[in-house]
């Protein structure tokens, strides 16, 4: 079973039994310093594992970058 989630503004299909940690690791090569928001709420790194996702969840993967 697949479910559709929104990642950084685009729709992605993921396996229903994958938790947030597995989904993040499948999307991002290096997660050092990565900020993960689900439905506008930051999920701390130690809670990624076991955090189940639902159809239509809005996920934001954000990082600090150089800027002026």
């Amino acid at each position: 079973m697949k479910l559709k989630i929104n990642v950084n503004g685009s729709i992605k299909e993921v396996d229903k039994d994958k938790d947030l940690e597995e989904v993040v690791r499948s999307l991002v090569k290096k997660d050092q310093g990565l900020i993960v928001e689900v439905n506008k709420k930051i999920i701390p790194r130690n809670q990624w594992k076991g955090h189940s996702l639902h159809e239509g969840d809005m996920i934001e993967l954000i990082n600090f970058v150089g800027g002026g």
């Binding site: 090569k29 290096k30 930051i42 990082n63 600090f64 970058v65 150089g66 800027g67 002026g68």
Partner: protein, 261 residues
Amino acid sequence: MKTGSPLIIGGREIKNRFFLGTGKFKSKADMKKSIIESKVEVVTVAMRRVDTDRHSENILEYLPEGTIIMVNTSGARNAKEAVRIARLAREAADIDWVKIEVINDSKYLLPDNYETVKATETLVSDGFTVLPYMHPDLYAARELQAVGAAAIMPLGSLIGSGQGLEARRFIEVLIAEIDAPIIVDAGIGRPSQAAEAMEIGADGVLANTAVAAAGDSAAMAKAFSMAVEAGRMAYTSKFIPSKELAEASSPLTGFLFDEKQ
């Protein structure tokens, strides 16, 4: 006027009045070297969505310990978006200094003063140290001061243009009328322009592209730091008035070749 007084923002004394943006550097190592060699104390960073197809690194890991980090709200098109970025930065990394940057125009990248005032008011009441980037307008600056901006950052000229102090006359008005520190941001391309901003009484200068895109970024960062310090020292030392005609600096009597009458 703030002659000779230390620069205090958010309760912290800032010794180096040159602030540096961290965008556009050739490498993170280059950026770090520039910060260390110029002894910059305050830097800006941005927040972006991660490009999942690319390798992405967290810039915070590369900032020397003790650096004051100010998150900018670039990408925000209105006050609400700016507030969201600031809150996210605080929650994610305990960053509570914010440079409000609300831009809705892709050609000139001019800041929206109205939305900037709104975002400043909200974030000050959230407990942030707020430094709004603004178009140098006296009324907007007064509003920003009234709602609690820790410093006000008028643009020198268009972002990234290197045109220098195009807005000089209006920045002078803010320096004369606003008690909050004035940090000139944007458009500063050369150390001499940074020195000019300090000579007219600005409390600091923020630059990014001029350093990051220079041939030798670390040396240029140091040059900017020195220029900002020199300009400040000159400002506090009081200038001579400029004159129409020449005035000799050597005595006008006792010339070696004068004939006694």
